[in-house]
Amino acid sequence: MLNRLIFAALLLAPGAALAQGQKPNDAQIAHIAYTAGVLDINAAKQALAKSGNAEVKAFASEMVRDHQAVNDKALALVKKLNVTPEDNATSQALSKAAAAKLAELGKLSGAAYDRAYVANEVAYHKTVNGALKDTLIPDSQNPELKSLLQTGLSLFTAHQQHAEHLAMGLAK
């Protein structure tokens, strides 16, 4: 829980985690968005290895496929723009929180694991959606990056709804 709060706080106010009072630049925003995708792919790979539930596995496959697709586009874009994604405190905090979550989920199994994974997917996508909407999209300068982040927001919103739907089914 504490991890999630720290994570939410950092994401929702990346300025605080970057140099004082500074908004993230495009190179940092690209890094944060890419990292958010990679972390969700890692969580999905763990689900594919651990879960025995067909719906959970289908959801996890979708996470791998969709986030890989958007990250491939992001890599192509930064290359085209000649921008090197810049590691930053927000990306690091995200990675740290995700590693802790992965370790926590790793200890669970069966239906308890499925519920915890899907519940975290709901929370994670909700948090990333908030960050995209309130910070990353408005602060991004390059129109192509902004547009890709908007696609990311549509994607994360769809995933959040899918995860919520799945969570309701698992709670029964």
Partner: protein
């Protein structure tokens, strides 16, 4: 092919031509899937028409009839065609992104 099979084929073709002397042209519609959404439904859909589903999104999607009459799995850039068999309302969704839903109204055959 035997003569008999050939004769049956010709008879069959004659029957089809006779039973439907003036077939109305079935229309072909296009519905694009992009930016995590189905495009707005085309007007004037009729039973017997076909829909070409074009996935121009960067993500894999499906065009799936809620009642199960078709289920197209479309990789990014792929397209596929379905025929509207019956008139009435039709609900199409994406199995991978269940929030993607399209409501179609199909009119009676032309």
């Amino acid at each position: 092919m035997t003569h008999r099979a050939g004769a049956w084929l010709i008879l069959g073709a004659l029957f089809l031509a006779w039973s439907n002397p003036h077939p109305a042209e079935a229309a072909r519609h296009v519905i694009e899937i992009r930016n995590m959404a189905f495009a707005a439904p085309p007007a004037g859909l009729k039973a017997g028409d076909t829909i070409l589903w074009k996935n121009t999104d960067m993500f894999r999607h499906t065009a799936t009839d809620r009642k199960g009459s078709f289920d197209l799995d479309l990789e990014p850039g792929a397209q596929g065609e379905t025929r509207l068999r019956n008139s009435g309302p039709l609900e199409v969704f994406c199995r991978y992104h269940p929030n993607m839903v399209l409501h179609l109204m199909v009119g009676k055959v032309r």
